[in-house]
């Protein structure tokens, strides 16, 4: 992707969090470094898969990009501006452009609000005009009938709830969406629908998406680029075609090897292309 200027340029990103498992009864928990120096770029319009085992730092990286977490050091340039260490006031102009869709749509939608109100609320917060009407348009965009606006989250299926989460994010017309394991709780059928929707929206709205997942099959079918994390470091990154066709790192190979393809293969359990701890 030969874009002049990437949407994100991240250099030597490091991030430490308190290790609550080693927190003494009184006093501060010791810090543990989660991200250990990551450098990469996200081209405009790319759907970038972020993959790795649990604890590899996928979600922490995502949260740093949308600045829910502040990096310990390093730069996060968003459209050429380092947002890594801005305070909340400094971040305000970028907030609308940095949206997020969550893993569990039930816990991320207010159960006491109607769908329309849920989608309209952030638009009201950002002072957009006609938020209710835009909310109904957003519902249409994600393939839900307009009357869903009057329903409550518990009246929807998992796939429909996840669409509401997507509608809420795209209604703000952001530049970037962080999608953190958004299909892992869904059935294959709803999963296929949500992935197709995301792909269409990304193309229509020229969105850049970081798609966090542990499922390489999903990443390969959705994403243009992929970043493979291993213990807080980038094991491998690049366009999906090259990373998946010629995986260079052990971690990428281990992840590929572990995918249970929907085909009968009695030798699958015995294949150890990569050593796993």
């Amino acid at each position: 992707m030969a874009e002049a200027e990437p949407l994100f340029r991240v250099s030597d990103l490091r991030l430490s969090l308190p290790d609550m498992t080693r927190k003494p009864l009184f006093g501060r928990a010791p810090a543990v470094e989660i991200l250990k120096g990551l450098s990469f770029e996200l081209p405009v319009g790319a759907i970038v898969g972020v993959v790795g085992e649990s604890g590899s730092g996928k979600s922490t990286l995502g949260r740093a990009l949308v600045r829910l977490l502040e990096p310990t050091s390093g730069r996060i340039e968003f459209r050429g501006v380092d947002i890594g260490h801005l305070d909340e006031a400094g971040l305000r102009p970028s907030r609308r452009d940095l949206q997020m869709i969550f893993q569990d749509p039930m816990s991320s939608l207010n159960p006491r609000h109607t769908v329309e109100r849920i989608i309209a609320a952030p638009m009201e917060r950002f002072g957009l005009d006609r938020p209710r009407q835009r909310a109904r348009e957003a519902l249409q965009r994600v393939g839900l009938p307009a009357e869903f606006g009057g329903r409550y989250p518990h009246e929807l299926s998992g796939g429909q709830r996840q669409r509401v989460g997507i509608a809420r994010a795209v209604a703000l017309e952001p530049a970037f969406i962080l999608a953190d394991e958004i299909v892992s709780g869904l059935d294959v059928s709803s999963q296929a629908q949500v992935l197709a929707l995301l792909q269409r929206l990304a193309a229509d709205l020229r969105l850049t998406i970081a798609f966090i997942s542990h499922d390489l099959a999903v990443i390969r079918s959705l994403c243009s680029h992929v970043i493979v994390l291993d213990g807080g470091l980038i094991a491998e990154a690049g366009p999906c075609a090259s990373v998946f066709d010629q995986p260079q790192s052990l971690m990428t190979r281990a992840l590929i090897d572990a995918i249970p393809l929907p085909e009968v293969d009695p030798g699958w359990f015995d294949s150890h292309r990569a050593l796993l701890a």
Binding site: V188, S189, L216, P262
Partner: protein
């Protein structure tokens, strides 16, 4: 080959679990299972696959006798090692099930008591339900923990659940499930919460242990990839009804039911990244619902 001929069953062998015409419904409410018939033989892994709400977990719960209070069996029979469970007095039924069947649950965090050490959580059932001596139970627990590749079983026995990773906890639950030498294991989405790499290790462990002990396994999953790897036979459920039962190999090489074909088509294929994902068509779902509802002839409905 017959549609549901069984690649594992020895001729004439009697199944570990035989479910015949099972109906389950919410009291005065919707039906959850409709006329489900399936067998699991010694040494066989039968996958139960379907989307959420298809009733896959309900079958396991009905077998283990842990249906929620609001849900009841309305028809059919469940035979475990030849015992017709519905005919047994509740206490006897619990005894039979506790001795013969184990559960590997989905969520390894909520399945373990957070305030108790691991060791007791494995040995309790052996000692309290099955009458093992404390010493024998402890030795068996250590043996199983070693068997599931836990490096320091003594330390893990003395640990609390929060001190272990998700993969370790799931291994502990596998050890606990196999410890009493059950003839049947109900595995209810045991790897859904895990990473792919850990999932593969866990699937391999279940496969090794059940093959060794010739345990029958009812493996509930929504993942056609996992079905292909772990099972020898598959039952596909939709709206509580069996759509298709077949040997796994045949199900993937020659899926007979349109719903089975749709489920396979909706599974992302790592090896075919450019094939568009095809969700199960809404028309098919509507048609299946009509079929399911129209064959609702049998009695037993409450309310």
């Amino acid at each position: 080959m017959m549609p549901d001929s069984n690649p594992v069953a020895a001729p004439g062998a009697s199944p570990t679990l035989a479910i015949d015409g099972l109906g389950v419904a919410v009291r005065r409410g919707p039906r959850l299972l409709r006329d489900v018939t399936l067998n699991v033989n010694p040494g066989e892994v039968r996958a139960l696959v379907g989307e959420s709400g298809a009733g896959k977990s309900m079958i396991g719960k009905a077998v283990l006798g842990v249906l929620p209070r609001s849900i009841e069996v309305t028809s059919g029979r469940i035979e475990l090692l030849g015992h017709d469970l519905g005919q047994l007095a509740p206490a006897r039924r619990r005894q039979v099930v506790a001795a013969a069947a184990s559960l590997i649950p989905q969520d390894p965090m909520t399945a373990l008591n957070p305030s108790r050490r691991i060791g007791g959580q494995i040995t309790d059932r052996l000692v309290l339900r099955l009458g093992w001596s404390a010493d024998a139970a402890r030795r068996r627990a250590l043996e199983l923990l070693e068997r599931v590749h836990i490096r320091d079983p003594l330390r893990v026995m003395a640990s609390y659940p929060h001190e272990l990773s998700g993969g370790m906890r799931q291994r502990v639950l596998i050890a606990a499930a196999f410890a009493p030498r059950p003839q049947l294991i109900v595995a209810d989405e045991p790897t859904t919460a895990l990473d792919v790499t850990v999932q593969k290790q866990i699937l391999r462990l279940i496969r090794e242990l059940q093959a060794e002990a010739k345990t029958a396994v009812l493996f509930v999953t929504h993942d056609m990839g996992v079905v292909a790897k772990i099972s020898q036979t598959v039952t596909v459920l939709f709206a509580g009804k069996v759509m298709e039962s077949a040997p796994t190999e045949q199900l993937f090489s020659d899926p007979r039911h349109p719903y089975t074909r749709a489920l396979i088509a909706a599974t992302p294929r790592y090896t075919h990244p450019h094939e568009p994902l095809r969700p199960v068509p809404p028309e098919l779902i509507a048609q299946l619902w009509r079929e399911v509802e129209s064959t609702n002839g049998e009695g037993g409905e409450h309310g």
